[in-house]
């Protein structure tokens, strides 16, 4: 078995575990009781998806696709900061 086949088999074996983890995160993100719960779930989900997209770009043999992971992990942090800034500003009376 060559090295390429071995790496492809490994990523294919890892794939359904990632799918299961994403499903559990999405369930928590949709039925989180409060807003910080769902925002936290989106945060963790997007950082894990950014790791998973790097694996997919090896699996699809097209390394150009990796540049989406940087953008995803940067902008989800911005969503986090926006929501918390909304809460803080409402508390301080401004």
């Amino acid at each position: 078995m060559s090295l390429e086949q071995q790496v492809t088999l490994f990523i294919l074996a890892v794939f359904p575990l990632y799918l299961l983890a994403f499903t559990l995160y999405i369930i928590r993100a949709i039925r989180g009781p409060t807003i910080p719960d769902s925002v936290l779930a989106i945060d963790a989900l997007s950082f894990d998806i950014a790791a998973f997209l790097a694996l997919l770009s090896i699996l699809y043999r097209s390394p150009i696709l990796i540049s989406c992971a940087v953008v995803l992990s940067l902008w989800v942090y911005a969503l986090d900061v926006y929501v918390s800034k909304y809460f803080e500003a409402r508390d301080m009376g401004d």
């Binding site: 492809t8 294919l12 911005a78 969503l79 909304y86």
Partner: protein, 88 residues
Amino acid sequence: MIVVLEVFTLALLTLFALTSVVAAYLAIRERDLVRAVVFSAIQSSMYALIYYVLMAPDIVLVYIPVSVGLIPAVLLFVIKKTERYEGE
């Protein structure tokens, strides 16, 4: 091996599509507007991931900043200026 890859990719697409449909339904039904903004962010990031799986990375590079970054920022600013809960 190629067949397994196709099946897994279709499962990934199905998961993203179902999540985006559920999140869009909840974003329309929700009375609390901040939660509606969060559901809208879930829905559009799932659309961006569908674009990624369909091999269009240039659309993803534009779609993620607009959908996750700009639209929730503008909507939360507007909600802060007005009121949070949707009236009758």
